[in-house]
Symmetry: C2
Subunit: 355 residues, 2 copies
């Protein structure tokens, strides 16, 4: 393992002192960058891009060429696992992901294979190798997967959904079948994230996009518990270092106390939650990652600087905060505005003493 | 005003003693009922149905013929105001509301008229008169409108949206223009709800479907404050009685304390919030209305009974709870399951003593 030249992200996720608050941006390798759009057009479909390690590596590194970010995140998608399970994933422009063979019957759950990462998902592991060869320890590389509940949502609905009423009907009409599906996804995700760790990622993150649509008790049972089971089986403690694990539940602001006891090192929080209140709720149990309203980047530079500084004031340099947006960056944001944000976060120490 | 034979809803919303917990169901007059679908097919477009007082009255009363509900709610839509403002409202099957003339320019905001309820919205007032003639005090009739922020969301986006990035861009790039739009919607909504009160509704509700997409500070400023301004100008105190006002912010679980100080008599809460925690947060300031996961109705009768009883146990007959779903009932729910739910709520007193 190449030692990290910039380990701010890792230190902040583990609540250790840092010289300045690290920043990375969810979906930093993506559509708001003209160089991404150019490459995307050449590459064919979205999944062809994801499955091409050379191009996935190039896309992963694009934002680092522009901005002084403190982390790279693997260019991939949370739906690689159901794709590898054979559900027939397609991305339809303007509509998001579609599964041509969604889960419809009990048999569909029973027949689901657990993908072997070194076979069906080897393109991800290859991309990690290429990226780390290019990064040479410049910044950490974050690997990721989707939460079992979130993957199940797409797999049962067959696509995104307004109400996710198919899987929510399944939860009440066929709870044991839902549990069986989640168990398979737990097993597949443990193997997948451990393979990413073995391939060299420096941190992992679990994206729980749809846990927030559940009632509080159901969130604990069907979304958080599967994530806990995964965390308990990840090889986060390497000989020489910890691979920090972050979990992010969109609309999970009411569950932060429970999430802080999940075994995760850090929690991602969305912009609908107050960072100050979140900090108070989780105490010194976990670090927090977030949570600027992504729409702030539609404002002028003065608006962006002010909003970022107000957020930085919550920790004021104390350990345990990774700056990020509260959700993925929007595709129509001006890339110059991202530069303003990164610069604001990095210059914070200069203008406001941390000690 | 005909005296109410069943005033449980009004009493519960005002935190007075009731003999049993009242229940009504958001979207109780709607697509899950075969008699609604039959009438809907005859009526033409959705807006033609809404604008026909005779048919709107018939639809409003349909669920009361089936179930022993403790309230009727006017069959209408929150978008009647922007429709009356001339934005060209259409409902496209499977896509929801579309405005053919959305807000795109500063001029569009400046030119927006404030509808006179007795002119452009007289069909609503006529429907209220017809419904009250039919109800003859059997149960209270609830009138309603949308929150200014929620109406603005649709008016600026031109439709529903995944991210509402147009109006959220407006919030950061043109905040004064957004305020001007909200001010017009406050004025229009005050006139509209006061006209509904004058026409005879027994309670009013403000639906804030999209306040929950805002950051906490923005929620207070752009969503809650406009609702507070409306409440302060409503004629809720009639000579002989109070017209209770309920506000409902979907995904507003983190804002309940602030909402409890808004001047509203009651808060609607969605199913993502714990009723017990909500009760604790709001203390004796307001009543709570909610909040069964609408997906529970996909379960079998045993599941429904158990979930409803667990919810009833939170108040256990103490004043201040109106039973409802945490969101509108889903169109594909079995109407027989609604009967099970209503019966469970009404028989609760018999099986579990309230004193």
């Amino acid at each position: 393992m190449t030692p990290l030249k910039n380990d701010r992200l890792i230190r902040a996720l583990l609540r250790q002192e840092v010289d300045r608050t690290p920043i990375w941006i969810m979906r930093q390798a993506g559509r708001y960058l003209p160089e991404y759009r150019a490459l995307r057009q050449k590459a064919g479909t979205f999944m062809e891009l994801v499955q091409n390690p050379t191009l996935a590596c190039e896309v992963t590194l694009q934002p680092l060429a522009r901005y002084d970010l403190d982390a790279a995140i693997l260019f991939s998608d949370i739906l690689t696992i159901p794709h590898a399970m054979g559900l027939g994933l397609e991305f339809v422009a303007g509509e998001g992901p579609i599964f041509t063979k969604p889960i419809r019957h009990e048999q569909d759950v029973q027949n689901l294979p657990i993908p072997d990462p070194s076979e069906e998902l080897n393109y991800v592991l290859d991309a990690i190798g290429l990226i780390q060869n290019e990064l040479k320890g410049r910044v950490p590389l974050i690997g990721f997967g989707g939460s079992p509940w979130t993957l199940a949502c797409y797999m049962v609905e067959g696509s995104g959904s307004k109400d996710f009423s198919k899987i929510r009907a399944m939860r009440y009409a066929r709870p044991a079948l839902l549990e069986a599906l989640l168990d398979k996804l737990i097993e597949a995700t443990v193997a997948y994230l451990n393979a990413q760790i073995a391939a060299g990622v420096n941190a992992v993150m679990i994206f729980d996009t749809w846990g927030g649509i559940l009632s509080p008790n159901d969130y604990l049972h069907f979304s958080l518990k599967p994530m806990q089971k995964i965390i308990a089986q990840l090889n986060l403690n390497q000989n020489d270092r910890r691979i920090p694990c972050t979990i992010f539940t969109k609309n999970g602001g009411q569950h932060l106390s429970a999430m802080a006891s999940s075994g995760a090192d850090a929690l991602g929080i969305d912009w609908m939650t107050s960072l100050a209140e979140a900090k108070h709720k989780v105490g010194d149990k976990v670090a927090l990652q977030g949570n600027l309203d992504p729409a702030v980047l539609y404002g002028n530079p003065g608006t962006i600087v002010q909003a970022a500084q107000e957020m930085l004031d919550v920790y004021a340099g104390a350990p345990g905060h990774v700056f990020n947006l509260g959700h993925g960056i929007y595709p129509d944001v001006d890339p110059e505005h991202v530069a303003v944000l990164v610069e604001t976060v990095h210059s914070y120490v200069g203008t406001r003493p941390i000690i």
